[in-house]
Symmetry: C2
Subunit: 554 residues, 2 copies
Amino acid sequence: MHEQETALLQADELAEGIRLACLVEVSGPTTVELLAEKNMQHQILLSTSGGKAQIMPQLTKRYLEVDKPGLEDHRPDLQRIKDSLAQQGISVTKTHFSVLQKLPVVLRKDKFKVTAIVHEKELLGLEPGNTGDNLLGMAFDIGTTTIVGFLIDLYTGRELAVVSALNPQTRFGGDVISRITYANQNEHGLAQLHTAVTEALNTLIGQAVEQAKIKREDIYTLTVVGNTCMHHLFLGIHPRQVALSPYVAAVSEPVEAEPAKLGLEINPAGKVFMLPNIAGFVGADTVGVLLATELDRSEKSKLVIDIGTNGELVLGNKDSLFACSTAAGPAFEGAQISCGMRGASGAIDHVTFSDDLQFSVIDNVSPLGICGSALLDTVAGLLEAGLITKRGKFVEPDKVTNPTGQKLKERLIEHDGSWAFLVAQDPDGKRIMVTQKDIRELQLAKGAMAAGIRILMNNSGIGYDEIDEVLLAGAFGNYLNPRSACIIGLIPGELEDRVTMVGNAAGAGAKLALISSEEYHRAAQLAKKVKFIELGSNPGFARIFANSMLLPGP
Amino acid sequence: MHEQETALLQADELAEGIRLACLVEVSGPTTVELLAEKNMQHQILLSTSGGKAQIMPQLTKRYLEVDKPGLEDHRPDLQRIKDSLAQQGISVTKTHFSVLQKLPVVLRKDKFKVTAIVHEKELLGLEPGNTGDNLLGMAFDIGTTTIVGFLIDLYTGRELAVVSALNPQTRFGGDVISRITYANQNEHGLAQLHTAVTEALNTLIGQAVEQAKIKREDIYTLTVVGNTCMHHLFLGIHPRQVALSPYVAAVSEPVEAEPAKLGLEINPAGKVFMLPNIAGFVGADTVGVLLATELDRSEKSKLVIDIGTNGELVLGNKDSLFACSTAAGPAFEGAQISCGMRGASGAIDHVTFSDDLQFSVIDNVSPLGICGSALLDTVAGLLEAGLITKRGKFVEPDKVTNPTGQKLKERLIEHDGSWAFLVAQDPDGKRIMVTQKDIRELQLAKGAMAAGIRILMNNSGIGYDEIDEVLLAGAFGNYLNPRSACIIGLIPGELEDRVTMVGNAAGAGAKLALISSEEYHRAAQLAKKVKFIELGSNPGFARIFANSMLLPGP
């Protein structure tokens, strides 16, 4: 460690292994973790009113030295504990049944020294001796495709580990509708989908525990966000109605559950907090985004775009918020695209059109396919180069007039009775291309989003001039090139210079609710405040959607 | 049915099969069920202030016709139900997790018609259609030796079935101390004892269900009483400390548990209510006795004696109540007595001494042994006839001077190096007798009870003149001859003319708490009000106990 690093970096940064790049001598193969996303999340995490969300987790631990019984003191064990807690200003009116069952044994294991775990007015757990030092929690963002978990020290708010995995429910269907269909058509479908996701969480919890070198039992709290379908499946509620008009959720208010009821392996005295849904598919993940981006506290109007397998849109300010959900489909995540893939190692993630095509590949390896952000770049580039029309149709090579187009038109290849555009070749010589059908898929996806934005603006009466900021949330939103997004019309061109990327804001919101009871309760208020717009039943949706399929260009 | 019976009996009595003995012609072998105990319980059940306890069970059922969702009504399912309940004046702030999981399916099973089960502010259950007609509960009195259960219609308060069984925990030990020892010395001892009693309850529930021709799922509530050790074992709490000075319970306040947590097979949306303990071994059964006998509302002082394997005593009035527990031992129940047996078919239950011995046998069959009440009668008779001394020692046959004694002394037989008294012979010619050791056992048992009464009187400052009534509770208390009890000094002779038998008052209290939420909450207040006197640590206990072993005579 260089002495200047010791001087310039803070103690907790040093502890996290943060170094100053200019002072580190690289002596061999090294993995450099960029702080871009980390800082972004950190920034969001700290961006609640007053600068920092006050750390005040839902569960508290109290170390107690309980009075021992005597011939003049016949109080039952439970009363002793309640009296000790009362001396610390904590009133308990309910006791978890499991605490009762082991009460006399635990209390006497370490000479009437115990640590009590309390949630609101309920005594949830009791541990022998002083275990007050360990109080950890995890925030989970259950996406249709990806699950991300953050392990947090609930005393300091420090992030100890980040873990992620593909949502194993994908084996039952790539999108929410196909999973709901699976649950409908198979006797044990719901149970399979439910177990798939809870087991994935158990695995991720295990990984986080290992990374941070802690014990599973030190984790007492989980906060979980996800869209309404993920919400229902995680809780084991049949999501059938969420997919059927009028798209009614079973429950929208926050749900609190014992870990054991969900088969989750954390401290059994802990608690799982599921953030509230808004309506339709606009679920707890969007509530998380709003918590983190504080739309409900903003004087000026903002537009939040959370792009995942489903796209959620929220427009508004502290006075009113409007939200809708669009079945964007998985095109943005590279699925159902001929050479598409997730944004993983080997994916072409950005493409620029100049004299020749240039692209970058994740991990700088040989390209294997293209991910969503590169698809956007390619279609935007093809449009600018005059290789496709505003309707998304390939121009016959001999009719290309644009100079850049002329240089690139040799990349047009015949494919499936139409044209396709060759982006690269993989190591085996297999062609990585964007086909006519891929462009249609993208148009459908972006058209749905653009129509959603249009309808939110119509309903809220908020015009382009009044939108102060466009916040792009979600992994995809964080990687796309905003210019490309505006050229293809995913985001209205009028707003291009107001785009800010906010990273995994849903996860950041889950983290806020994890470390702050106040933020968790704010989520319930916030969810009720949002006015849900059901796109399908909105007059004029079909026309707006059709128009939104067009590619506006720069 | 005679027309006079129709005129004189009430409809519900006729329905129960009650007849007027004077009008029934017996045409063959007939079992006559005497109403003594039944009426007694009935009387107690109805003896709360104002005549009748208001029927107001803890759980309520509400039939709801819930609004169907529509394009303009996106309320989540749960909100719809809450809104419907609110229209009936019921506010729900908590929902049981199992309700959430099946919510959308149950709600749509019968076209948005459902029946909600609510406890306080929690939605416990939801059933398709209108099931409002069925709301049953059971009250259980878990005795050390016997378990009794009462199946009650919670709408009418009507008793639909009474079932009973030996407590299967007896195979691990006859009294509470030996069971606690078993739990201490065997790794799975606690679990075995816990499961033994919960399985017994499941069996009894099954029998009650069959008798009343109802479904198990129609039972939603159980109230349970038992002494502190039975309380702990039923809930799965280790009772070790209850048997160790200073005899501290794990929990005394009322405990509410989900049936599934105790492995009890009733409607899973139901609830089990365990009445509170007082202290030491003075448990929820005594609270039940006090609920039923209303000592806490009595202007005049009363003494309650509940004799079982353990004996509990309460003395006082509405201003103050004093309680203690005595390890009477199982002598009163015929255990550890050479020819002893429970009060079952074939037991000699009453003995009278005149020119010759006369006795009655339960079910009028040949005698098989003697039960507790007959043991009392015999020892009292031996004392009156001058065949034993006040110290309980047999008088040598040639020194007997009392005329009755002279007639009966030929029944004195040599046994084990001492004398014994022959009561009868069983069909095989086996002698049914009372030995010197049996008399010692009875002296120990009655001595403990008498000492307890003495110490309660000393502590409360209540003298014989002030005791308005002596209430004998428990099966044994209901069968014994009060005169015999006074002659041997189990009950002070001064109080002989004030003795009233109140039957299974503990069970009656459990029934009150079952049908009336108010009575259940009164139990908690009542339990706190009672001042517990720990006999062992009471100065002078040893001397009082030794004196109480004497047999005072008539």
